[in-house]
Every structure is written in structure tokens, then in C-alpha cells.
């Protein structure tokens, strides 16, 4: 489903290279965890996959279902099924949450040539999905993410993911700032979306999230490259020994 080939990318503004020859393949149905120490390029990778313009790709390619997505803007990528759950979801005052959800769902449907949702159908979908994530209706009446706690913001991201039904989900540090109960709710939400035609990339610092979202593959990102890949045992090994050994081997 996703094939990243020798990817090099830098910050557009100052030219700092962050991703330095990254190779990664994620198959449909797979849950891939990307782990790595601070500053290794994990969040940058998530932004580059979703098309943020602050970064430029200087070499290599990103193939999604066999086609390069480098020329697509974030909205085009989203309507093709790529979804990024943000590490720090943004508060956008003045944009009503429900209106935003409706516009996003319908714009994606339009881009795929599908009919727009009727209002009752839309409301039913939101209600169902919100209930599963224990999201209060009052939260949905507020402006987008405004005044939400850290945990509420993360749940709101998963709500968006459930409603938009993406094919490639990228979870950027979704566990950060969550207590254990909120973590379980979020993980249940992610697991509920697991299906043979959907792939998930879980970016995390810690093994903890991977107890709840069990990965098929684990990749260690360091200085903009995948330096080690394995199965879930690799995450446990990292938890035990830290990154130092693996980094030492790679160096």
C-alpha cells in the first residue's frame, strides 16, 4: 500500500535535512510501528506523508497504491485515504466542529465522485462514532478543538478518523498526554478500524501504546533513516535496553 523509496527531505525554510534516505514498505492490513528517539524525524515523516508544505522532498519517492503522491496537496492525499492523527491537534476558533466534520466528509466524497451525505445520515454517523469514543455531544457543539483537554483532542482525532474511514492511518504520538483510560479508549477506536484493506502507521516513543495497538512490524527511525526493522519483539527489546545499542550497531 505504501512504499517509501530512498526518501530525502528537508525543511523548506532553512534547508535542514531531516529525512536522509528512508526506505519503508507498509502492506494493506498491516500495523507498522515507527519508534525512535527525539529528533529522529518521526513527526517530520508524518507531515511529509500528509503533504505539509513546510518540507520539501529532494530525492526519492513516496508511492501510495503504486502511484507517486509527491505532487498532491494535503487535501488530495486525504481524499485518496491518507489520514494523519496529529500529535498536537490544532484549536481553530470560529470553525464549528460539526460544520467542519460535515465539510470534510462531503469534500472527500465529492473528490471521490460519491454522493454527499444527507444531514440526518451525517448526524447519525457522528453520534454513533462519538458514543463509541465516549465523546460528549457538548464537545461537538464547541469550535474545533477549542477548550478541549489533551485527551479530548486525541479522541476527537480518532473520531475524525472513524468518520473519514481512511485507508492509510498515521498516528503521530497519539499516546502522548493520555492517561491509561483515555489510552484504552483511543486504542479501541484504532483497533475497531483494523481491516485487511487498511494500513496503520503508529509513531510512538514508548512501548506502552503497543500493548494496546499490537503492531505487525516495528521500525526504528534514527537520523532520518530506518536503521532496524523487526516484529513486536523489537519494541519490547527497545523498552528493555533503550535505543543506544541499536544506534551503536548502526553507526
Amino acid at each position: 500500500m505504501l512504499e517509501i523509496k530512498n526518501l530525502h527531505a528537508r525543511i523548506a525554510e532553512d534547508g535542514t535535512e531531516i529525512i536522509r534516505g528512508l526506505n519503508l514498505t507498509v502492506k494493506a492490513g498491516e500495523i507498522a510501528a515507527i519508534m525512535g528517539p527525539n529528533g529522529s524525524g518521526k513527526s517530520t515523516l508524518s507531515y511529509i506523508l500528509s503533504g505539509r508544505q513546510d518540507y520539501e522532498v529532494t530525492e526519492g519517492d513516496i508511492l501510495y497504491n503504486g502511484e507517486s503522491i509527491l505532487e498532491l496537496d494535503p487535501a488530495e492525499r486525504a481524499s485518496k485515504g491518507i489520514f494523519l492523527a496529529f500529535q498536537y491537534p490544532l484549536e481553530i476558533p470560529g470553525v464549528a466542529t460539526m460544520q467542519f466534520l460535515k465539510v470534510a466528509m462531503n469534500e472527500q466524497r465529492k473528490a471521490r465522485g460519491e454522493a454527499e451525505l444527507t444531514t440526518p445520515d451525517f448526524i447519525r454517523r457522528v453520534k454513533d462514532a462519538a458514543e463509541k469514543l465516549k465523546i460528549d455531544q457538548a464537545m461537538l457543539r464547541r469550535p474545533l478543538n477549542v477548550g478541549f483537554s489533551g485527551g479530548e483532542k486525541k479522541r476527537a482525532e480518532i473520531l475524525q478518523m472513524a468518520l473519514l474511514e481512511p485507508k492509510l492511518c498515521i498516528l503521530d504520538e497519539t499516546d502522548s498526554g493520555l492517561d491509561i483510560d483515555a489510552l484504552k479508549i483511543v486504542a479501541d477506536g484504532v483497533n475497531a478500524l483494523k481491516s485487511p484493506d487498511r494500513a496503520t502507521i503508529v509513531i510512538t516513543h514508548y512501548q506502552r501504546l503497543l500493548d494496546y495497538i499490537v503492531p505487525d512490524t516495528v521500525h526504528v527511525l534514527y537520523k532520518g533513516q530506518i536503521i532496524r526493522s523487526g516484529d513486536k519483539a523489537l519494541a519490547l527489546e527497545l523498552e528493555e535496553n533503550g535505543y543506544a545499542d541499536i544506534i551503536g550497531e548502526a553507526a
Binding site: 508544505q53 513546510d54 487535501a75 486525504a78 490544532l90 470560529g94 465539510v103 472527500q108
Partner: protein
């Protein structure tokens, strides 16, 4: 001073003087009113239209910007339109002429032209200071309007819409409104052009809130793309009076809205909100002169501006706190979304504080759309143009939502999104 300057009138100044001459004997008023009109026009002629050398007009050089003045046109076949908010009581002023049959249960309504004829309007006709060009123009030329008295303890269920519609020509209107003690009302002062032909509009609302009055006053200016709109609202706030004043500019070519507000009663509260939607080659100036004149009053002022095309905007906000006005709490901010390289916005907040125990602050920002916000919306599949429109809309909707009256919020949001759809 070079006295010769008085004889070199610009085309617009000459047109005003000639228009006045042509209307001698026609403009309503008793001897005192006519005397005042003559004096105001004479002052206007001597001082000329204000230039950038006059501090209050520094960013709006009226002499230079007002290139021509349309002829006075009184013939009109304009019909009133549906009110902004369904169910409002409409008092229409069509091409500057009020409706003699206008009536609203429970309040007193008189025609301003009758107040001119009997001379009772004369005191209010004067200019507020030596640079009050709008006071002079309006005082010289005003023909009609409504004088409204809302009796004490009256609560108006439905909003009153002062519906000022015009075609081309000159229109000068006046609305003295007095709100009795503990009265409650929403007034929508709506200025709108029904043609694209140039008009010169001046309009002054002179409002007094007696003790404990609780009033929402909306000024909605959607003039035509060739129009000059010179507006002024003069406000007196009594003890414990509350005024929510919303000014929305979404039209006109040359616009100046002056807000002259005296917080004159203890416990009074002013909430001023402004939305300026600026496009094409327009110039729009909102100038506030706010006096906190007694102790224990508060005010907040938030102005949001969106600038497209080659438009220019100005906000001047002067807050004066009198020497004995202790415990004044005033906060002013002016935020601009500048969405073009060819337009601009000038913000000039000023505080003059003569009391020592007050909380006063101001801030101004000018920015483009936040790129992280844009990315967030796009990452959910919202195409760029739509995402931008949502964010611009959000920037001003935030202010409008504070009004809380649902129908009014919806109606104003409708005006704003319609404007943005035409310009974005």
C-alpha cells in the same frame, strides 16, 4: 496660516457648496436651524475637507480621497426590503426620506424633518469639534430621519430596523434615539445601496442610554462599490447602562465610521465589536473616540478586519480615562487578516489615561492565514480555497457569535459569508 487656501476649493468641496446653495429654501428648518446650517457650511468652506495634516484624519485624507460629489437627487422609486432579521419592525428611510406613517407600538417616533422645522433639533446639529467634518456635512444637509424615544422600563421583543436605502445622489440622515431607564432593545441601523451608481451618504445616530438601559445596536453598512459613506454615532451611557455596539462594514468605496462614545454613568459597560470586510479599491476607516468619564466603568473593543485586493483599512481607537475615572477597565484589540500584497491596514490604538487606578490595554495584529490551520483543514480533505474561506469566515464569525441572539447571529453570518463568497 495662509488664508488663500480657503478660496481654492476642490471639485468635491465646490460641489458641496453649490449643492447647499441650490437647496436654499428647500432644506427643512426654522430660523435657528437655518442659521446653524449656514454656519456649519461656512466652517466647512473655510476649513475645507480634512487632509492628512489633521491628526484625526491622518489615515483618511478626505480632501484627496473624495474626488467628486454626486448631484442631489430626490426623485426615487425605492421600495423597502425584507428586514435583516425576520420579525423586525422596519422604519424605512428611502433616499433620505422617512415614512410619515411609521409606527411601532410602545415607542414614540417622530420625523426628524419635523424636529428641524420646529427647531427642536438645533442643539444636536452642531459639530463635535473643529475637525468634525461629518458633523458639519450632515448638519448642513440633513433632511430627515427618525427621532425615537423608548420609554423607561420598556422591553422591545422584536428588533427595530432603521432601513436606510438609497439609489444615486446625496442622502443625509439623522437618528436621535433616547432609551429610557431600564429599557431593553435591539436596533439594527442598516445602510444599503440599491444601485451601483455613486452616492454620498452621511448619517448620524445620536443615542442616549439612561440608567440601566440594556441595548444592542448594530450598524450594518453594505453600500455600493462607488459610494461614499460618512457615518457617525454619538453615544451617552448613563449609570449601569449596557451597550453592545456592533459595526459591520461590507461595502462602499470610501467609508468613515466615527464612534464617539461617552461612558458617563458609573457601572456602565460598553462592548464594541467591529468587522470590516474590505475588497476592491475601497478605503474604510473606523475611528473610535471613547471617554471613560466616571469611576467604575468598563469596556472591551475588538475589531476584526479582512483585507483583499487593493483595499485599505484604518482603525483609530482613542480611549480617554478622565482624572477621577478610577477603576476603569478597558481592553481594546484590532486584528487584521491581510490576504493581499496590494492592500493595507493601519491600526492606531491610543490610550490617554489621567487616572491612576485603572486597567487599560490594547493590542494590534496583522497576519496572513495561519498556515498550520490551513494544513489541518486540508489534511482532512478540505480543498485549499474552501479551507481558506472557512478560516477567514471563522476569524470574523467568532466576533459575531458573541451576539448570542440566534436569529441575528445567523443573519449577520449570512451577510459575511455572502460577501466572502463574492470576494475570496
Amino acid at each position: 496660516m495662509n488664508m488663500q487656501t480657503t478660496s481654492r476649493l476642490t471639485a468635491a468641496e465646490t460641489a458641496l457648496v453649490e449643492a447647499f446653495g441650490a437647496q436654499i429654501g428647500e432644506l427643512p428648518g426654522n430660523g435657528a436651524v437655518i442659521g446653524t446650517r449656514d454656519r456649519l457650511l461656512d466652517e466647512l468652506k473655510k476649513a475645507g475637507l480634512p487632509t492628512r495634516r489633521i491628526e484625526a484624519w491622518h489615515y483618511t485624507d478626505l480632501k484627496n480621497l473624495l474626488r467628486s460629489v454626486p448631484d442631489v437627487t430626490l426623485v426615487s422609486a425605492i421600495d423597502a426590503i425584507a428586514p435583516l432579521v425576520e420579525g423586525s419592525k422596519v422604519l424605512s428611510i428611502l433616499q433620505g426620506t422617512a415614512d410619515p406613517k411609521a409606527a411601532v407600538d410602545g415607542i414614540d417616533i417622530a420625523l426628524f424633518k419635523d424636529r428641524l422645522a420646529d427647531g427642536s433639533a438645533v442643539a444636536g446639529l452642531t459639530a463635535l469639534d473643529k475637525d468634525d467634518a461629518i458633523g458639519r456635512i450632515n448638519g448642513s444637509f440633513v433632511r430627515d430621519g427618525y427621532a425615537i424615544t423608548v420609554p423607561a422600563n420598556t422591553e422591545l421583543e422584536a428588533p427595530i430596523e432603521l432601513q436606510a436605502l438609497h439609489a444615486a445622489g446625496q442622502v443625509h440622515t439623522r437618528f436621535p434615539v433616547s432609551f429610557g431607564a431600564a429599557s431593553k432593545a435591539t436596533i439594527i441601523e442598516r445602510h444599503r445601496s440599491v444601485t451601483e451608481d455613486a452616492a454620498l451618504v452621511s448619517s448620524i445616530s445620536d443615542i442616549a442610554l439612561e440608567d440601566g438601559a440594556d441595548i444592542t445596536w448594530i450598524i450594518l453598512q453594505t453600500q455600493g462599490a462607488a459610494d461614499t459613506h460618512l457615518g457617525q454615532i454619538r453615544v451617552q451611557l448613563g449609570t449601569d447602562a449596557k451597550l453592545r455596539l456592533f459595526v459591520i462594514n461590507a461595502g462602499g468605496k470610501l467609508v468613515r465610521q466615527e464612534l464617539r462614545i461617552d461612558v458617563a454613568g458609573e457601572g456602565a459597560e460598553l462592548t464594541l465589536r467591529g468587522v470590516n470586510l474590505l475588497g476592491a479599491e475601497s478605503h474604510t476607516d473606523v475611528t473610535l473616540v471613547l471617554g471613560h468619564n466616571v469611576p467604575n466603568t468598563n469596556s472591551t473593543e475588538i475589531i476584526r478586519n479582512v483585507v483583499f485586493d487593493r483595499a485599505n483599512g484604518v482603525f483609530q481607537g482613542m480611549i480617554r480615562v478622565a482624572p477621577d475615572a478610577q477603576k476603569t477597565d478597558a481592553k481594546m484589540s484590532c486584528n487584521t487578516l491581510l490576504l493581499t500584497d496590494d492592500g493595507g491596514f493601519s491600526a492606531k490604538p491610543e490610550l490617554e489615561i489621567f487616572a491612576d487606578d485603572v486597567v487599560c490595554g490594547h493590542g494590534a495584529t496583522v497576519a496572513d492565514i495561519e498556515s498550520s490551520h490551513l494544513f489541518y483543514l486540508m489534511a482532512r480533505g478540505v480543498p485549499e480555497n474552501k479551507a481558506r474561506a472557512m478560516l477567514v469566515n471563522a476569524f470574523v464569525a467568532e466576533i459575531v457569535e458573541e451576539l448570542e441572539e440566534e436569529k441575528l447571529v445567523e443573519a449577520l453570518e449570512g451577510v459575511i459569508s455572502a460577501w466572502l463568497e463574492r470576494h475570496a
